[in-house]
């Protein structure tokens, strides 16, 4: 098996690398310090077709494939994992399920909003008592005539206080367990929708995370996404795709940290020579490079399987697990190479390390990925 990026994929990488260097890198530290959503950057990404990159052009999207989407997240995350997160969530967790499960009317209404309309998307599954065990959600949606009445709350919602369109999961029949969960497209302008607490996080400071509250929220009946009771399988399948995005984000963080480490160790002289000339440094850098290459192959494999319509649940879980753990290891070791400087905010390593940690947690913890992988091993 051989992975050769197409000429178009190579151009997308080059475009995204130039954009990241000129538009993202200069503000990454400031975005982290101020915890401000990088609105201007995201607006530009809409203009370039990166927001909604996999949405067909007839709905205003970029018309590309999951690998192209992953390459964009990877490049952005080399400098700013927050920006990568916002894009990954919008594309993988909002546009993708609407495109996959939406009716023609839903696609015609919402996909142009999420592409040319510059409306940001989000995904609301997690609740205070339903994290890894997503089946225990308490948010309810009750059908009353031509609409559902939704009550409950969701937490840790990426893009929470900036998004206009949410894919929300709620119980429509509690007696049926996971088969009683349904998916809905909810607009932030619907009556009864409100944003709760803005989370203060360890990292990903530019990514807006919030609680979402539904208090007798009126959701039109036609905004049911897929069939009633199919919400859990929609959520799980959507997260399979989302994990490719997080693998790409984690890989980007690792690659960014590796680039920093290589540049620093070549210039930092101790005991009379650059520290890159010490074998201990070289072996550590070699391991970082090895992990990035392996992670890239796993991630590309999962993205290509998705593009080809093959089953990719296990591949996505492996890519996400490997890349996120490698991002954590690489940022930690790279910071160590910087010594005391790495521990300061004068260098990006401490930010990268804080940002890397979440990739082992969200969209399925590392433990959940191991459950998914082992569940697909015929044990």
């Amino acid at each position: 098996m051989e992975f050769n990026l197409s000429r178009e994929h190579e151009l997308i990488r080059k475009m995204m690398a130039e954009f990241t260097e000129k538009e993202v890198k200069p503000i990454a530290a400031e975005t982290d310090r101020t915890c401000e959503y990088p609105r201007e950057t995201i607006e530009k990404l809409f203009d370039l077709g990166v927001m909604g990159i996999c949405v067909p052009q007839e709905y205003g999207g970029g018309g590309s494939d999951p690998l192209a989407g992953a390459i964009c997240i990877e490049e952005l995350s080399k400098q700013c994992a927050s920006t990568g997160d916002i894009v990954a969530t919008h594309n993988g967790l909002c546009c993708d399920p609407i495109l996959t499960y939406g009716t023609e009317a839903q696609k015609t209404k919402y996909l142009p909003m999420l592409t040319t309309g510059h409306h940001v998307g989000a995904f609301a599954l997690t609740e205070p008592n339903a994290g890894s065990d997503a089946s225990k959600g308490q948010t309810e949606a009750r059908l009353e005539g031509d609409h559902y009445v939704m009550n409950g709350s969701k937490i840790f919602i990426t893009n929470g206080y900036v998004a206009d369109v949410f894919v929300v999961f709620a119980m429509t029949d509690k007696s049926k367990g996971t088969k009683g969960i349904s998916a809905f497209i909810v607009e932030s302008s619907f009556p009864g929708f409100s944003v709760g607490k803005h989370e203060e996080k360890m990292g990903l400071h530019g990514s807006p995370t919030a609680e979402i509250v539904f208090q007798d929220c009126i959701v039109p009946k036609e905004n049911l996404l897929g069939k009633e009771g199919k919400g859990f399988s929609i959520a799980m399948a959507t997260l399979d795709g989302g994990r490719i995005g997080i693998a790409a984000q984690a890989l980007g963080i690792a690659e960014g940290a590796l680039d920093e480490a290589v540049a620093y160790t070549k210039g930092r002289v101790q005991f009379g020579k650059p520290i890159a000339k010490f074998q201990n440094t070289q072996f550590t850098l070699a391991d970082m490079e090895l992990g990035c290459e392996a992670g890239r192959l796993l991630m590309y494999q999962a993205a290509m399987a998705k593009a080809e319509g093959k089953r990719y649940t296990k591949q996505a879980a492996m890519a996400k697990l490997f890349c996120s753990e490698h991002a954590m290891k690489t940022t930690t070791k790279a910071l160590q190479m910087f010594g005391g400087y790495g521990y300061t905010k004068d260098y990006p390593l401490e930010r990268m390390m804080r940002d890397a940690k979440i990739t082992e947690i969200y969209e399925g913890t590392s433990e959940v990925q191991r459950i998914v992988i082992s569940a697909n091993m015929g044990l």
Binding site: R7, E8, L48, G62, A68
Partner: protein, 266 residues
Amino acid sequence: MKIFVTVKQVPDTSGKVAVNPDGTLDRASMKTIVNPDDLNAVEAALRLKEACGCKVIAFTMGPPPAESMLRELMAMGVDEGVLITSREFGGSDTFATSQIIAAAIGTYGVEEDDIVFSGRQAIDGDTAQVGPQLAEKLGLEQVSYVGAIEKKGNTLLVRRMLEDGYMTIRIRTPCLLTCVKELNTPRYMNIRDILSAYSKPMTVMDYGTLKDHPLIDNDTIGLQGSPTNIFKSFTPPQKGVGMILSGDNRSVAAQVADVLAKKHII
């Protein structure tokens, strides 16, 4: 209406500059980029295209890999590419290059409302000669160092940037403008245009295509025919730290005079 843009693939001088033993640039070992001023020319062309709905055709002369640069420009929105490539054209100086590119543009025909955009100068040669020579060969009116453009019917109101100010000039089409970086900020490639870039028309013109064109003088093209010959290329030695004099104006002037006198300059 058509817009022609001339572009050049140049070595990325932010990296290492390599020179061949014969004094010419070792282009093969250096990364390449689109000449920065040419990107301003492309951006100007694309903005005019968006306003007028015309076609933008990019021309470049260079080795076959220069096609990848034209594809990148197509990924920004350029409609068509023309790659002028032939062993016979290798080593051309600005005089030779401008007649070859003029002939290539000439095969498309420059009509009344057409415009040719060039970058002010390329960062490898820094001559700023090809644009103006191209205008002369094509018989077009020209404005160099353009920093602003406003289209009004078949005339353009342009700002010609000078060291100590600017001139505002009204010019009729067809014409040629050489663009400076103050003109605009070049756009990035975008997903839609990237996906269509490799299906857009690419024309390759070689010596056989152009040799009989009236603008081509076969005696003045290529390395042999070029009036300019490179005697030597070298990286200039770094200057020393120099001499820093301090004091008030009068005493510094006296010190300068003293130093110059000691060196027998005055």
